[in-house]
């Protein structure tokens, strides 16, 4: 399994000491390889309310779901692709590393 160096990314809503909503996995050169992001919400798109939203590094929506699927509040995300889902971030981290290992 490919091991990455994981660091805390964006926090809850960016205020105060919110728990991390994102973990960033980098290689030895410090390049971002994978991200684990928490589904957040709700988001009103103008015509529908989404209860689960995953955002990319620039805050763009990468996944919209009507609600958080059971046991899948975290997404493992590599190069624009969702490669795994889990109920807790550590499991999603392992899913990302397993996907990298092929």
């Amino acid at each position: 399994m490919t091991r990455l160096r994981w660091t805390r990314g964006r926090a809850g809503d960016g205020t105060g000491e919110e728990p991390a909503a994102e973990w960033i996995g980098c290689d030895d050169a410090g390049e971002t390889i994978a991200r684990v992001v928490r589904l957040q919400g709700p988001l009103w798109t103008g015509w529908r309310l989404y209860r689960a939203v995953a955002l990319d590094e620039e805050g763009r929506v990468i996944r919209l779901l009507p609600s958080v699927p059971e046991g899948a509040g975290w997404l493992a995300y590599i190069g624009g692709q969702v490669v795994g889902r889990a109920d807790v971030p550590l499991k999603a981290v392992r899913a990302a590393e397993a996907a990298l290992a092929g």
């Binding site: 160096r5 994981w6 660091t7 805390r8 728990p19 991390a20 973990w23 109920d87 807790v88 971030p89 550590l90 499991k91």
Partner: protein, 695 residues
């Protein structure tokens, strides 16, 4: 009391389904913590917490006994609570004031109905809890299957902190997933001796799998712990314990431990878990003040919170009263400040003053006098005059009223009358005192027969009360057959006008009231609204109208049962300068109720019970057919191995004598539990029967 001392207090409850081993576990805790020098056994009738005669004779816990003990420099105040549904009020009020709880589930049956009820109650009060799967030495016990019922029946996110080593009579110890070692109990010395070992080879893979799950779940509540894990590939024991405590308090997950209290295995690690993972009074958010009169407490989220602070003015909640030979003992949970013997406090619920007499720390039926009580602690106070369960005691500097307690609705009535006429006064006094101790017990006089009616949570509950009346107050009483506690209500709005006019020489009586009666949702009780404008009914007579309706509501118009869940609004009326009086308005209101209710679509309500029958598969057809004959509605059916659990809603009226019918139908192989679920209107034919009987 300094904050660092508060950190070492744990106010916990132990709760579970009946016979899951609560009292046995408490006895082991008292033995290992040095409070008792021998272990009492439920079946021998010599336990420390079951100190009432009836508890020892029947082998069940009736009242919550408060016990204080010490473990690893921490003070643990434990409330042992009853498992039988009839005494649910005790669980309810204990959970209300505790900071944490041990939930015991049985290793054979897993989550049982009363575990579910208590779990929901603990959810209501946000009580952090640890789960202890007990009786793993029993034939058929299976830790993994019992744990799976936590997901199936409670739908919770649980995480194992231990795994059993061996099963049933080969159960010898535990794998400690936090410290990654095995704990093996040695025979003898009542389980006081154990040794640490390597995790057995055959359990290494399973332990690794469950530890990974523990890390995944626990570390997710703490980003710093996640970083430590990413840096080192693991975390220290201290970090892991910190995360487990954080997740336990927030309810993000529920830690699961294992053992067999009866065979003295698993209790010391359970005590360690109480100290390590359950909150101190400083770790919980505090208690909310009560909502404004008439407001819904669940909706009023912005109320002030009283935090545990030893330096703030005193505020405490009375959660239990008992009467013994020394007088009335009131158990109070202190939330803020300090109170000393001799202090004057306010009972802010009642608006009266209370002088604090002697105070005690309780060790079941023994007591140790203390001079002051501090925020975070539990104390028993002697000599409070007006304070009953649910009342707030507060310092005059900050006279807050703390969040109220909710009490269950009694569903069974019995009539009680003393065997000798000269015991009438003694019986009334005794029953009033017992009802004062127990908010799930109601006392009323049937206005038509003059009989004293006791309403309670079940036959066992009322049986114990009558027994206590005899033992503690020396009153022998004749008891009527248990009756269903029917209620009456209305189904449509109606406005009624009644004029009370009487002229018998001298000053007469005159009062006219116009009242709107409207149905309310179930369990809303009776509400009154004064909508009179322009002084049509003078202010001084309005309380008499309310009093008249409330008194008359005790005797419904259909069959004489108390009328509930309606609102009455006084909208108009007339008075006479000379002939009107409070009495005349009270009489008019009573008559207006009698006439008005008849036109407001009155119905009789009956208690519907949530019944769960566990039966071998061969008898499912008989059980379901029988439930249908009893006007029951099957809710669901679940198979587990060779047994099937049938859940149904059945009118209480149809459940009298069910146990003997069930036994004969299934050759004694099925069992059942039931608890109150809701009130529903009775079908027309049953209503006719009830009315004919009461006529």
């Amino acid at each position: 009391m300094a904050a660092n001392t508060l950190e070492t207090i744990r106010n916990i409850g132990i709760t579970a389904h009946i016979d899951a081993g609560k009292t046995t576990t408490t006895e082991r805790i008292l033995y290992y913590t040095g409070v008792s020098h021998k272990i009492g056994e439920v079946h021998d009738g010599n336990t420390t917490t079951d100190y009432m005669e009836q508890e020892r004779e029947r082998g069940i816990t009736i009242t919550s006994a408060a016990v204080t003990c010490a473990w690893k420099d921490h003070r643990i105040n434990i409330i042992d609570t009853p498992g039988h549904i009839d005494f649910n009020i005790e669980v309810n009020r204990s959970l209300r004031v505790l900071d944490g709880a041990i939930f015991i589930i049985e290793g054979v049956a897993g989550v049982q109905p009363q575990s579910e009820t208590n779990w929901r109650l603990a959810d209501r009060y946000n009580v952090p809890r640890i789960i202890y799967i007990n009786k793993l030495d029993r034939t058929g016990a299976d830790f993994y299957r019992a744990a799976a019922t936590l997901t199936e029946k409670l739908g919770i996110n649980w995480v194992a902190l231990q795994l059993p080593i061996g099963a049933e009579d080969q159960f010898v110890g535990l794998v400690d997933l936090v410290e990654q070692r095995a704990i093996i109990w040695e025979g003898g010395e009542l389980g006081a001796k154990f040794r640490y070992e390597e995790i057995p080879a055959d359990l290494k893979d399973k332990a690794a799998e469950y530890r990974q799950n523990l890390l995944d779940t626990a570390l997710s509540v703490d980003d710093a712990a996640m970083e430590e894990y990413f840096d080192k590939g693991d975390v220290s024991v201290e970090t892991l314990k910190r995360c487990i405590k954080k997740g336990t308090i927030s309810g993000a997950f529920r830690p699961v431990l294992a053992g067999t209290s009866f065979k003295n295995k698993g209790v010391q690690p359970l005590l360690d878990a109480v100290v390590d993972y359950l909150p101190s009074p400083l770790d919980v958010p505090g208690i909310k003040v009560a909502a404004e009169e008439g407001a819904d407490e669940s909706e009023d989220a912005d109320r002030r919170i009283i935090k545990v602070d030893p330096d703030a003015p005193f505020a405490g909640l009375a959660f239990k009263t008992i009467n013994d030979k020394y007088g009335t003992l009131t158990f109070v949970r202190a939330y803020s400040g300090t109170a000393k013997s001799g202090d004057m406090l306010l009972n802010t619920t009642k608006g009266s003053r209370e002088r604090i007499g002697r105070m005690f720390q309780m060790h079941a039926d023994k007591r140790e006098e203390i001079k002051e009580v501090h925020a975070g602690d539990i104390v028993a106070i002697v000599g409070l005059k007006d304070t009953v369960t649910g009342d707030t005691l507060a310092s005059p500097e900050d006279p807050v009223v703390l969040e109220r307690m909710a009490f269950p609705v009694p569903v069974i009535d019995i009539s009680v009358e003393p065997k000798t006429k000269d015991s009438v006064e003694k019986m009334t006094l005794g029953l009033q005192k017992l009802a004062g101790e127990d908010p799930s017990l109601r006392l009323r006089t049937d206005q038509e027969t003059g009989q004293t009616i006791l309403s309670g949570m079940g036959e066992l509950h009322l049986d114990i009360i009558v027994d206590r009346l005899k033992r503690e107050y020396g009153v022998e009483a004749n008891i009527g057959a248990p009756q269903v506690a029917y209620r009456e209500t209305i189904t449509r709005a109606h406005t009624e006008t009644y004029t009370h006019k009487k002229q018998t020489g001298g000053s007469g009586q005159f009062a006219e009231v116009k009242i709107l009666f409207e149905p309310l949702e179930r369990n809303k009780g009776i509400e009154f609204d004064n909508k009179v404008v322009g002084g049509a009914v003078p202010k001084e007579y309005i309380p008499a109208v309310e009093k008249g309706i409330r008194a008359q509501a005790d005797t419904g118009v259909l069959a004489g049962f108390p009328t509930v869940d309606f609102k009455f609004s006084l909208i108009d009326g007339k008075y006479h300068d000379v002939d009107s009086s409070a009495l005349a308005f009270e009489i008019a209101a009573k008559a207006c109720f009698r006439d008005g209710m008849k036109n407001a679509g009155p119905v009789i309500l009956e208690p519907i019970m949530d019944v769960e029958v566990t039966t071998p598969q061969d008898h499912v057809g008989d059980v379901v057919g029988d439930i249908n004959r009893r006007r029951g509605m099957i809710q669901n059916q679940e198979s587990s191995g060779t047994t099937v659990t049938v859940r149904a809603h059945v009118p209480l009226k149809e459940m009298f004598g069910y146990i003997s019918d069930l036994r004969s139908m299934t050759k004694g192989r099925a069992s059942f539990t039931m608890q109150f679920h809701h009130y529903d209107p009775v079908p027309r034919n049953i209503a006719d029967e009830i009315m004919a009987k009461s006529a």
